[in-house]
Amino acid sequence: MSKRKVFQGNIIVAKAAIAAGCNFFAGYPITPSSEIAQHLSREFPKMGRDFIQMEDEISALGACIGASLSGKKVLTATSGPGFSLMQEHLGLAVMTEIPLVIVNVMRGGPSTGIPTKPSQADMMQARWGTHGDHPIIVLYPAFADEIFSETVRAFNLSEKFWNPVILLLDEVIAKAHEDIELPAKKDINIYKEKVNVIKDLNIYDRNIGENPPRVDFFKGYPIHIDGLEHDSHGYPTSDPAIADKMQHLRMQKIYHYQDEIIKFKEYYMDDAEMMIFSFGVSARSALSAVKIAREEGIKVGLFQALTIWPFPKKALQERFKKIKKVLTVEMNMGQMKYEVERVSPDDVKKDTLLRANGIPFTPQEIVNSIKEFSK
């Protein structure tokens, strides 16, 4: 009998979180992500893990950060309006170098927008939403099996790099019920290394590109964690030399390892003369479109970004050596297209297919754009 079962995308996220060892969820209900909270409210207590519904998204992320510092692997899930509320605490988590995973199921925006329809309009906000210079990792699966694997990868990356990771979904893939074979426990790779003993209280002291040697609270060391700019002990300071050093340390912690963090999938790219750049639900339609176009003889391929930030600049520039046409397909008024423009040389022709009215692109619509662009 087949091991494939039907699950909703949100439930796949929840199951992947459980498999990754997540043991604390604090959240606030919001369409279209509430199923994640509901599923974990049932499953976590069965395993002795912690679940709490807080009074708003701000307090949800606050509780997550407190729990992460106390040794838990934490998750929260929200959508546009809640994600906007979480920005201040997201900055605190980056500043204090705390692992946590935030799921943002994108819906029509801005503001209350269209809660029950998809969009891909938080791409730039995921990178720049919180104030100040901050590194961030943003992942975005498209297919059901990717929802599982990217959720586990989100936890692994956040633990490995001591930084929040944002896992984007959209209303379509989160709410769709699809068949998936969940991987066996032994096949799931969970990042295990964690600092439990430190040499001294210099918890942020390290070389460029390294992780901070910081323990969690209650390990026997009276550590100080502060949202103010701080020295290697974590004590507040406004000294310019220290501030400069800390900024570089935090940024390079991620960008030094971006090759390891960046992940993407390619379809029909070997002999492609045109490339579609897409992600999430749009990538799914684009894949079908590419297959249709290929049958009609058009040499088009699909570059599906799984890591949105850091942006796969090097990979794209490699492909731009041979491919001279790129079509960005996204459900917004133009966000990632600016990144594609930024990294592509002048001799590459750029086109876009954009829409932000809550209706995903059909494969035929993308095929029409491909045909127009190939003229």
């Binding site: 509780a63 100080h224 964690i225």
Partner: protein, 284 residues
């Protein structure tokens, strides 16, 4: 070194507060309370938000966390749920507790989560230069009420009593022994506890209102301090400007939140899991 100095992080001294600021007095009272109870510094966490009171965790030699404005209680909720056996102390000022953080305050009280809150009420937003706060007395001049404050102030302790917080007390920075005792009792309380410490900001509030010296401002606080019993005997019209001190509410009957989660929710869920597993086996 006196026993209470064990809880002080001298490496971060001197404190940034103005000469005579009540924050330092509260810092000492808390350290003395920790010391009286013989607590292990590694089992304590002190969390604060933004403001002059928000700088306090830096000076405790325990686990310490300096968070965003008004949200210290939310971080404390996460810590307490994750490590229910630890001592979680939150220090708040006017804005943290009663303005931006007001919502989290009533939810923490409602949940009766075992967080010990010290609310330092000095009637102003001191750190940012002396703007009006929800705890500024009426008619006072501040940076944002140059013609006098027309907004009535909150009474934090009474608000907490109405929110059914299970331990509510008020003391002032003049009555240092009683302040320490009341903090000690709040640390021992099983559930959410609030100690409102009336403090002096003579530099940013007192100076605009004829009390620029800490001795004068603390004397002004003393003139408005009455015990709970004296307050009961006052006529309603005389009560308006008085601060009744002492333990104002103590309820030991309610369950504490994390206790309830571990003693009720987790066993109930495990029972349900067993039943589901049995049902699955029967189907096969």
């Amino acid at each position: 070194m006196n026993k209470y100095e064990k809880y002080i992080r001298y490496q971060t001294f001197p404190t940034p507060w103005c000469p005579g600021c009540g924050d330092g007095v509260v810092l000492k009272a808390i350290a003395m309370a920790f010391s009286d109870l013989d607590l292990d510094p590694n089992d304590i966490i002190v969390i604060a938000g933004i403001g002059c009171s928000g700088r306090m965790p830096t000076f405790f030699n325990t686990n310490t966390l300096h968070t965003t404005h008004g949200r210290a209680l939310t971080f404390a909720t996460g810590v307490k749920l994750a490590r229910p056996e630890k001592m979680v102390v939150v220090i708040s000022g006017d804005g943290d507790a009663m303005a931006i953080g007001g919502n989290h305050l009533i939810h923490a009280a409602r949940r009766n989560i075992g967080i010990k809150m010290i609310l330092i009420n000095n009637g102003v937003y001191g750190m940012t230069g002396g703007q009006v706060s929800p705890l500024t007395p009426q008619k006072f001049i501040t940076e944002t009420t140059p013609y006098g404050n027309i907004e009535p102030k909150f009474h934090p302790a009474e608000l907490m009593i109405a929110a059914r917080a299970t331990f509510v007390a008020r003391e002032t920075v003049n009555r240092t022994v009683q302040l320490k005792e009341v903090i000690k009792k709040s640390l021992q309380h099983n559930g959410f506890s609030v100690v409102e410490a009336i403090s002096n900001c003579h530099i940013n509030l007192g100076r605009k209102n004829k009390m620029k010296n800490p001795v004068n401002m603390t004397k002004w606080i003393a003139s408005r301090t009455v015990t709970k019993e004296q307050y009961e005997k006052l006529a309603p019209e005389d009560r308006a400007h008085k601060y009744p001190v002492g333990i104002l509410q103590e309820d030991t009957a309610r369950y504490e939140y994390s206790e309830l989660y571990h003693k009720h929710i987790i066993p109930a869920a495990k029972e349900a899991a067993k039943k589901e597993a049995a049902a699955r086996n029967n189907k096969k």
